[in-house]
Structures are given as structure tokens and as C-alpha cells.
């Protein structure tokens, strides 16, 4: 067990202010009718009662980021010769993300397997990942769209988090799960939390108890492969899909990107920006051929990747954290749980 501390509710804002002196602090707050993670501002109220509309994905994996700034120049001796000079733009500074939920933060561990792999490490991702700490809020009550327990997690799962905060009456029990987390818990505003531990556990257990039974997804990887060529199945599943990217962009574990060089005059920037497999251009080839021509092909990829292809190469880990945002925020209410279960229960026609 790591360090355990107690924070009074009234001290939350001062604590975040304290953390903001050395780090960039992100916390959820209302922008319009949506709750998003924004740079912490003591003048603006944070909103942590319910899971945010958007996960804190962009704190480590920004919606777009500069990879390289480049400049063209002409050789004065030979004007037909164009030279190019590039300058890598690496992220700087440390950040603390407060108020993500266990599912939100666990999503990054699915990024890690791809971007922090031994052979190919993504330096931009690594820089932010190493320099960002997560103070995660345990959930008190799951929502109707929550299914973290289906995919091997729980309302107080600290995987990927540095500190887990469990809300109890008038305060939070804070527990560290990493050296980074331990460092965050050195503030004078925090008091020893030992006598609150049992209260925190009670909240955690109550949350688990209010979960409904989780179906067994162990057959999902194989079953999804079985229906891979069954376009009837996928056309039915995707009939109402609009092929927009809301599900992917709100997903804490969707990590795909696009790279674009944008030039104005002699200067330019290489951007990396979010991309999503629901977009037609995601697989569009230079020849004009598109191996995923319809929304059925695209939805198949999204579901298949999360529940079959990714587990297939990553020790059976499902790359879905069960936050339910894709269900809740889908403009037409597509339910990924339903599709996976239909695939599991699908029996091929005999003959």
C-alpha cells in the first residue's frame, strides 16, 4: 500500500492551486453544457460530481500537436536547389490531471502498449506520459452506460493512476500508487489518512455492489473473427451508424492519428492530429481504392479492434475501458455492448 492521506473538501481548491504552482493542472469544468478537462482556474468551479463529457485524453494525446517546424530555403549559388531545415518540437513541462475516472486513466495503459513499445517508442507521447500525473476519482455509483467491470476493471481501479481519490463525506481519501503519486501527497494541506481508510473502502465496495452482472467476454476475440466476413451481420449492426467520429474522439483508449504537413510560403509545420476509423479517409489509399468502403466495414473495425485484434496481440487485454461514452454520446445511440454480445451469441447458419 502506498501513502494514504485525507483531504478536506474545502481544501481541494487550495491544493490544486498549490499543485498548479509547479505543474500545469487540468480539471473538469463546464464549458457550455459539456464537461471538459481544461487548465485549472481557481475562479471557475470544477465539476466532478459525474464523469466528464470528454475524457482527459488530450492531456497526453492532444487533439493536434506540432511534431516538426520546417523552413525551405534556396541555395543562393544555385536557385534550383531547395534546402529544408526541420526543428523537432518536443512537449515541455509537467502536468497533473485531476478528476479523471478510473476508466479514463486506465485508457492510457492501452496507449502505452502501442506507443511505449520496446522497438518503437513514440517520443512525443512518452514525453507527455512521463511528465503527467493522474489524480483519479473513484466512482461512487456506476451509470447506466458504465461497463468497466465487463472489461476487467472496477470503479476504484487505480491502473495507470498515480493517486486514487475516494470521495467520502466532507473529503477524500487519497492513496498513492506510484513514486510520482507519493510526491503529490506531500502537501501540508493533507493529513494522515489512516483513520479514513475503512470509510474509503466502504464507498469502493458499495460502488462494486451496485454493478449489474458482467457477461463473459472471453469468447469475444474469436467470435468477432468468426463474423469478420459476415457483412450481413455488420450491415445490420451499422444500419443506424452515421459514421461520424464522436465515439472514437470521446474514447479514452482510441489512439489513432493522422499526419499532415501544412506549408505557407517557405515555412511549414508537421501536425499530428486525431483520426478515427469511422472516417472514410482513414483507410483511403492513394490509388483511390478504399478497403473499408462502407460504414459497416468501419464499425466492424472499431468493434473488432477493441475486442479482438488488440487483445490478440496484447496478452488478451481488451482495448476498451468501459466508460460508456461511445454509447451515451452517440447521436443515434449505438451500443457497443450490444454488438459484442450479438457477435458472441451469433451462431453461423448451418449448411
Amino acid at each position: 500500500m502506498g501513502l494514504v492521506k485525507y483531504l478536506k473538501s474545502a481544501d481541494l481548491t487550495p491544493w490544486l492551486e498549490e499543485l498548479a504552482q509547479e505543474n500545469k493542472v487540468f480539471a473538469p469544468r463546464y464549458e457550455g453544457d459539456a464537461v471538459i478537462f481544461a487548465p485549472f482556474d481557481p475562479k471557475q468551479e470544477i465539476s466532478i460530481k459525474h464523469a466528464a463529457t470528454m475524457p482527459p485524453k488530450k492531456t497526453v494525446f492532444p487533439q493536434s500537436e506540432k511534431l516538426v517546424d520546417f523552413t525551405y530555403s534556396k541555395d543562393p549559388e544555385d536557385l534550383s536547389r531547395v534546402m529544408i531545415e526541420g526543428k523537432e518540437v518536443l512537449p515541455e513541462g509537467t502536468a497533473v490531471v485531476f478528476g479523471g475516472r478510473p476508466c479514463d486513466v486506465r485508457g492510457f495503459t492501452m496507449f502505452d502498449r502501442v506507443y511505449l513499445a520496446e522497438k518503437t517508442t513514440d517520443v512525443y507521447y512518452k514525453a507527455r506520459r512521463d511528465n503527467t500525473s493522474f489524480i483519479t476519482l473513484a466512482c461512487e455509483k456506476p451509470e447506466t452506460t458504465c461497463f468497466c467491470h465487463w472489461v476487467g476493471s472496477s470503479p476504484y481501479d487505480a491502473t495507470g493512476s498515480d493517486v486514487l481519490a475516494t470521495p467520502i463525506e466532507d473529503g477524500y481519501v487519497l492513496e498513492s500508487f506510484s513514486p510520482k503519486g507519493q510526491k503529490l501527497l506531500t502537501s501540508k494541506l493533507l493529513e494522515n489518512g489512516d483513520r479514513w481508510i475503512s470509510k474509503g473502502q466502504e464507498v469502493n465496495e458499495n460502488a462494486v455492489e451496485s454493478l449489474t452482472d458482467a457477461p463473459d467476454l472471453s469468447r469475444a476475440p474469436q467470435k468477432l473473427l468468426d463474423v469478420f466476413d459476415n457483412m450481413n451481420f455488420w450491415e445490420k449492426a451499422a444500419a443506424k451508424c452515421l459514421s461520424c467520429g464522436a465515439c472514437a474522439y470521446l474514447c479514452p483508449s482510441c489512439y489513432c492519428f493522422n499526419i499532415t504537413d501544412e506549408t505557407t510560403g517557405m515555412k511549414g509545420t508537421r501536425f499530428r492530429s486525431w483520426d478515427n476509423c469511422m472516417s472514410a479517409q482513414f483507410t483511403m489509399e492513394a490509388s483511390g481504392h478504399n478497403p473499408r468502403p462502407t460504414k459497416a466495414h468501419r464499425l466492424k473495425n472499431r468493434v473488432g479492434h477493441k475486442f479482438s485484434y488488440y487483445p490478440g496481440i496484447h496478452d488478451g487485454v481488451i482495448s476498451c475501458c468501459g466508460c460508456g461514452r461511445c454509447i451515451k454520446s452517440c447521436p443515434v445511440g449505438i451500443d457497443i455492448r450490444e454488438i459484442v454480445q450479438e457477435a458472441i451469441n451469433h451462431e453461423p447458419a448451418i449448411g
Binding site: 464522436a246 474522439y249 499532415t260
Partner: protein, 319 residues
Amino acid sequence: MKFQEELKKCISDVMPELDVVIGWCASFDPLHATPHFMRRKEDIDKLEISPLSVHNLATYLPGLRGKKVGIVVKGCDSRSVVELLQENLIDRKDVTIFGFPCTGVVDQSKIKKALGHTGNVESCEMSDTALVIKMDDKTQTLAMAEMLADKCSSCRYPDAVISDYFAGEKIGNKGEKDVDYAAVEAFEKLSVPERFGYWLKELDRCIRCYACRNACPLCVCRDHCAAESRDPHWLSQENNVRDKLMFQVIHAYHLAGRCTECGECQRACPVDIPVLMFKQKMNQEIREIFQYEAGVDPEATPPLLSFKMEEENITEKVW
């Protein structure tokens, strides 16, 4: 709903001639409905029409061209169908339209605001006047009139403007109300920096998922949108508020004289950006200059696809 059984029977009678009929059914919680694609008779049992039937199903029609499709429409949805017919994007002979008297649909954002959140809805009872929602061991009653979408409170076409079958009794035009652009007019009274700053602030949280575009029944370019084209490169891939705002202008302008204000763009937005106002403004102008309203007459030509040598309502600048 009384007409629902009549409608089910209607659909059941015609179904053998159709490939699919689109309606609504229950969704992941009692507060939501979802589009329902009916292919077999037993699918019809699940059909549910209620104030939760928010989706404009006309969005699916161009993608199903060539198939025999039945579609259940609210009054506003039927205007999208008319507009698609006007523009020759669907074939009248292939589309079977089922109308019903619509008394309005809810705005989920309003409910969320009224209740604080809607993550744990256990049940939702609806009557003409109220929504009774059970959640978090509490039962709360919300006035239906206050939860209806804005477009419903000023609705002028509660009955489908075009239909092959109509279940129930028509409501009739609710007193020829005029369109209500009060919100747009109020916004225009703000100062220049206020208006400019408002959009920057609102669009800052846009994630460029393009749900607004894909939910729009009249955004028919689908996989070939200017937003994602690299040549011409209308929009940067940078996470820049300028490009987010520019896309909204592109969307609104490409809908000029075509938009029926079904509000799907705004409803679909996962981060609740009030993007409908751009289209309302455009429509307000179209009405003033061309006395034209989209999606009412299948034979009409949208105003930007035609011209007059002498324009009555355009006064050119004198230098």
C-alpha cells in the same frame, strides 16, 4: 400513443413490398430512443413513437437509394424528405412515407440541465404534459412543454407535409405561427467583440468529430466533404478554433436555402455546441430575400439554384 397501433398495422401491411422500414425503438436507458430498422414482421412490435423519437431518419435515405425504403416521419423530418426529393437525391417511387401527428420531441440537453445529470435513469413515464423520471431513488416530474426542443414550441408543421400513409388524426397547422427568430435577433444585438468572442469560446471545445455534418439529412457529400479534402485544403488539421468555426460556416452556407432546421446538427454534437444558430440565421435571410422556405414543396427550386434578372428584394450598394 393511440395512433401507434394503427401505424404498426399500416407498416405491417406494406412491409412485404419494402426492403426496410425505419422507425424508432427503445435504447440503452428509458430516457433514450434509437433508430430502428425493421426488416421482418416481428421487428414491428418493437416500434415505439414517443417524445423521445428525436432522430431525423431522413438522414438515412440517400444512403439507401436504390432500395425500397419505408420511413416514419415527424412533421419536421418530412420536410427533409421533401428537400431530398426536390434535389433529386432520392426517388419518390422507392420511398414510402408514414406520417403521424407529432406533438413534439424532447431536448435531452434540457432534461440533463433540469436533473443535473441523466446517467442513472431507471424509468421514464411520459404524458402529454409531463415527464416523470425515476433516478437516484428520487422521482422527479418535469413539465413536458419546458423539455420540448425549441423547434417544437414554434412548430408549424406537426403533421408530415408529405406522406403515403398517415396514422392518427392530423393536428392541422397550429394557427399559422410565424417562424421564431428571436434568439438570433437577440444575439445580433450584442456588440461585435461579444459576438466574435462567443463563437471562439463555444467552438474551442469542438473535437471535429463531424457528428453535426453526418447527422444532417442534407449533408449528402458524405465521404467527400470539403472539410477533409487536402486539395483544396479548406481546413487545417491543426486543432485551431479558426478552422472549427470555418467549418460551421461551410456547413451553414452549403445548406443555404436547403436547411429545414430539424436541429440534428446541434442535437448530435457530443459537446453541445449551439451550431443551429448559423443555419437559422441563413434561413432568416432566405425568407426575407426570397420568401422561400425549404422542404415544403417538392416541385420548388431552391433559391440559390435559380435567379431573377431583376431581384425585388436585393438593393445593391450605390457608390
